[in-house]
């Protein structure tokens, strides 16, 4: 899935970050790697790092420094209570949006749908 629409991705990035960090706390580069492994191959670090900082600034993520065997301490993020509430809200909104989009797409790809709608309109005119 390399061809993500950048604008769509930006719209849902916060939700994705909150979701993966709700699963377990993590640091910047590791979050990028996890999202790439989940299908967002084209996701750039330059998109994720500022988003993490902004989410922390909004109080949706908390952080702590964890010493690393490989080098300097890494900054691990996890959702705050407000972050979990935001994740629930965003997930609900996404599910609703996704269902609506699916409905629209199913209608527009069904060749019989237009005739069916047309017949339905005609019946309504006759009965009135």
């Amino acid at each position: 899935m390399a061809g993500h629409d950048t604008q769509v991705l930006k719209g849902i990035l916060s939700m994705l970050l909150l979701r993966v960090l709700a699963a377990h706390e993590d640091y910047g580069y590791s979050v990028v790697v996890r999202l790439r492994e989940l299908g967002f191959e084209g996701l750039a670090e330059g998109t994720v790092y500022p988003a993490l900082t902004r989410l922390e600034g909004k109080g949706l993520l908390a952080s702590r420094l964890v010493a690393s065997a490989a080098g300097p301490a890494r900054k691990y993020y996890r959702p705050t209570e407000a972050g979990r509430a935001e994740l629930d809200r965003a997930t609900g909104a996404w599910i609703e949006l996704s269902a609506n989009v699916d409905r629209v797409m199913a209608r527009s790809t069904d060749p019989n749908q237009h005739d069916h709608d047309h017949d339905h309109d005609e019946r309504e005119q006759v009965t009135s």
């Binding site: 910047g28 330059g46 790092y49 902004r54």
Partner: protein, 195 residues
Amino acid sequence: MNSQSNEGRNRRSLSLSDRAGIRWAGARYDFWLEMNSVPAKTRRSLRRELRVNLADAASDVGRATALANLGDLRSLAAETTRDGQLRSRWLAGTTAAATVFVGLMVWFWSSMLYYTEGVLDAGAAEPTSSWLWPFYGSSVTVDPSGSGIGWEIVPGPVPFVLAGVVFLFVSKPWRSLRGKKLADHATGPVSSFRA
């Protein structure tokens, strides 16, 4: 809690040039954060975090790819501070004003030397005065009558006024006044970042 999520990946050790490249990227990132008026403590924290992440990425995919995936550091700094409380850009304002002032003074002195050359070529024996375009209010008097050449120079207000306007335009000091009122409501990463 999993704090070892990416530790098990195949890693290459970083060379000296890799480390130097990462440090340089961190320094440039710091510069652009400074240009966005991010406070020093927050800058240090963001720079350190970027370097750690970059080192991890470089040991995973190589320094060139890691830096490429980061994109333009100026944009990265702007994105990082995008939702932050806008602050005055004192350093940027001072730098821009100083650059403009020095540029105008070089222009003024070049014009003055050009004017002096004209006065001498004309064979003037008495002190000759003029103002230099576009330095309204300036005054240059060239006096070739003595044993050498004498100058009396008044650059006028133009370089100072233009430098002041540039300083105000770039540093945006009104943000600080407005920022105090908004301090209690600030939710941006710059104002509330916990370093």
